[in-house]
């Protein structure tokens, strides 16, 4: 900063530095390297990579543009200021030179310079230093003094006085044995520059922000087809077999979409074929079953006319198993309808407690104990009453097959936690062996039969009953599970949770 230059050199300004930019560049590097260190060990996900590329790209670009703009502005502003300072100093020096011929007093000189409009200047006349305002000899670096007074070379340099940068131009006036030093402040230039710098920084931040936003959007856009494919695969796995990907024009993605859809179609066809087979078999079984059950009933009504006990026993077996067979075929048909997605609920508002009482009354355990909580009496569900009656009947059947002793059914609001959506519980408890933890999710699978020790070997267990319970409850937006009895005694507790509303008492 304190180098002294010969006057016409113009590139001095290069030394008036990039001060403004430096901190930015520094932190930019630091931030980048920190980011890099953080990200290097792991392989960033595709989305993250796209986002990072956009963010870093926009950041680098905006930083570069800001730096370039700043340095250009700085150069041109300083150069302009430099030129005008030197010009003005020459003009004033020339005018002063004329005046000095008449040997003016110090105050005459300062007045004269004031008239020129000079603010800070120092004049040296025959060893005498005259300050026009506050700056005096002390403010002029000795290097410049030597250059001007001894070498008689007009020079300028940038000095900092009280923290304020000044262009100091020294012009020797050898004819009068004098020298003229003029200061022109760079404060204005500096404040302009710092203003420019601030707005460039802001622009760079905004641009980077936009870049990050675009990056986020672009990355989301880029992975959207993947996310869609994942979603679709999940939907298919969840049973919505008709899920397909939208056809696309993008050649990269088209292949993905086409092969995905082909796969889904093949899967669907296969599952439907299986389901249709089950459904066809059940349909075919229905006709002979009709005949069987009608004939068995005719025989049954003539039971007493049969000649002996053996015939009657055989008839009882026949009638019993025709009924069981019929139930099984109905269940099979029903489950294949669920598989085909052909189930439509015939919903109506049901007063839950009343519904449960009715459903228990027509079940195989009409004398089951029914307990309804206070709030349970006010619960209303939107349900298909005949389907839900089968749900209740199946749970009671299950309790009858596997449990022993008293069977009870509880109707209550969801206990404990606050339940803003509103759900009701219908819980069937038996006194059997309970369901071991590892079998609890299996019991709802098709043809799952509890085979654990302590359970009755069943001759009438439906096999599909609980699977249908699960399907029906899910159709109603609810869920079913099995747990231990609440009172600590041995036995299973099957709970159905259904969306319900509490109707004003």
């Amino acid at each position: 900063m304190s180098d002294v230059d010969d006057v016409p050199p113009v590139d001095v300004t290069a030394q008036l530095p990039v001060v403004m930019l430096r901190p930015v560049r520094l932190s930019w590097r630091r931030r980048l390297s920190r980011l890099w260190i953080r990200l290097r060990p792991q392989k960033p996900a595709l989305r993250r990579r796209i986002f990072l590329t956009f963010s870093l790209g926009s950041f680098a670009l905006s930083a570069f543009l800001a730096a370039a703009t700043y340095s250009f502005a700085q150069n041109s502003l300083l150069r302009q200021r430099d030129h005008s300072a030197i010009d003005q100093a020459y003009r004033n020096a020339r005018a002063l030179q004329g005046d000095l011929a008449s040997q003016p007093t110090a105050s005459q000189i300062t007045n004269r310079l004031h008239n020129f409009g000079v603010t800070q200047a120092v004049v040296e006349v025959q060893g005498q230093w005259i300050a026009v305002l506050t700056f005096g000899r002390a403010e002029i670096p000795t290097a410049l003094q030597t250059r001007v007074l001894h070498d008689l070379v007009a020079s300028r340099m940038v000095v900092s006085i009280h923290g304020e940068p000044q262009i100091l131009v020294g012009i020797p006036l050898p004819e009068q044995n004098a020298a003229y030093f003029e200061f022109s402040s760079l404060a204005e230039v500096q404040s302009t520059l710092s203003g420019v710098g601030r707005s460039l920084l802001a622009a760079a931040i905004v641009t980077t922000g936009i870049g990050m936003l675009l990056g986020a959007l672009a990355s989301r856009r880029a992975v959207r087809p993947l996310a869609e494919a994942a979603q679709a695969a999940k939907a298919i796995a969840g049973g919505r077999l008709d899920t397909r990907l939208e056809p696309t024009d993008d050649p990269d993605l088209r292949l993905l979409a086409i092969s995905f859809n082909d796969m889904a179609a093949a899967l669907q066809a296969r599952v439907e074929r299986d389901a249709r087979f089950a459904s066809d078999v059940s349909h075919e079984l229905r006709s002979p079953l009709m005949t069987l059950s009608a004939s068995a009933e005719v025989l049954s009504s003539r039971r007493e006319e049969l000649p002996d006990e053996k015939s009657r026993a055989a008839l009882d077996l026949l009638v019993g198993d025709v009924t069981r067979f019929q139930g099984l075929v109905e269940d099979l048909l029903e489950i294949s309808r669920f598989d085909a997605g052909a189930i439509r609920l015939n919903r109506e508002d049901l007063v839950l407690a009343e519904f449960v009482r009715q459903a228990v009354a027509v079940s195989s355990v009409p004398d089951a104990t029914i307990r309804v909580s206070d709030r349970g009496e006010a619960l209303v569900i939107a349900g298909d009453k005949r389907r839900l009656a089968r749900v209740v009947a199946n749970l009671l059947d299950n309790a009858r097959f596997y449990g022993s002793g008293e069977i009870s059914i509880d109707v209550s609001e969801v206990a404990g936690e606050t339940d803003p959506l509103g759900h009701a519980w219908i819980a069937v408890e038996d006194h059997g062996a309970g369901v071991p933890m590892e079998e609890r999710s299996l019991v709802f699978e098709r043809f799952a039969r509890g085979g654990s020790a302590g359970r009755r070997s069943l001759s009438e267990g439906a096999g599909l009953g609980l699977a249908l319970v699960d399907e029906d409850v899910r159709m109603h937006g609810g869920r079913v599970w099995v747990e231990d009895r609440r009172d600590g005694e041995s036995g299973a507790r099957f709970v159905i949770e259904l969306p319900a509303e509490e109707v004003g008492v």
């Binding site: 349909h283 229905r286 006709s287 002979p288 079953l289 009709m290 005949t291 069987l292 059950s293 009608a294 004939s295 009933e297 005719v298 009504s301 019929q326 075929v329 109905e330 048909l333 309808r337 052909a342 189930i343 439509r344 015939n346 109506e348 508002d349 519904f355 009715q358 459903a359 027509v362 009453k385 005949r386 009656a389």
Partner: protein, 242 residues
Amino acid sequence: MASMALLGTRHRASCKAMSTHILTVEDDERIRSAVKLALEDEGWTVEEAATGEDAIEAFRRHPAEVVLIDIMLPGIDGFEVCRSIRKTSDVPIVMVTARADTHDIVAGLEAGADDYLTKPFQPKELSARIRALLRRIKPTPSGHSKLLFDDLEIIPEEGKVLRDGEELHLTKTEFRLLVELGQNPGRVFSREALLDKVWGYGYFGDGRLVDVHVRRLRTKVEHDAANPRHVVTVRGLGYRLQ
């Protein structure tokens, strides 16, 4: 319920005496035979038809007192047979459908069926249905022989409904529905109550039976079925006659 069961038995006894004539339309010969056996066991006379065309012809020749129609038939289907019979008769019709949750049931009821069963059904269920449909109308408790609703005149004893003095043709079930509603003018009947009184179903009867019959009744009884003045829906509660 008790009095109704009593009525049912009494009626059954009288049926036996007169031997109620039932037409069954079913293409599967073995089912037809088994159903026939079961119904004859109840003391009814059964006439069989294997196709819709045969059924229409048989009914024309000798109108039955109850018709049982399988929807799935070769040639003209059960709906068509139902509509065809309804053109000339108010006979109770029971539809047999494959499944309980499809459009079939509503379509069958709209074609004019009075009740339905899903296959495979127990013959006991079928005879219970038939008995319910054959039940006679109870005499009006008020003793009035005529029920008047503005332009509508119901004469339960004679099984007649007149609108502006002109006789309307209602099916037996529609008539019973109208009389049930009419015997307690202004009272709101829930679907369950009507299912019980008219069809003899309990809590788990299919409410669509009531809805479709009310709809059918309106097209006959009302001047403008879309804006009923007599058979009025009471949202969330049921129906009433005014």
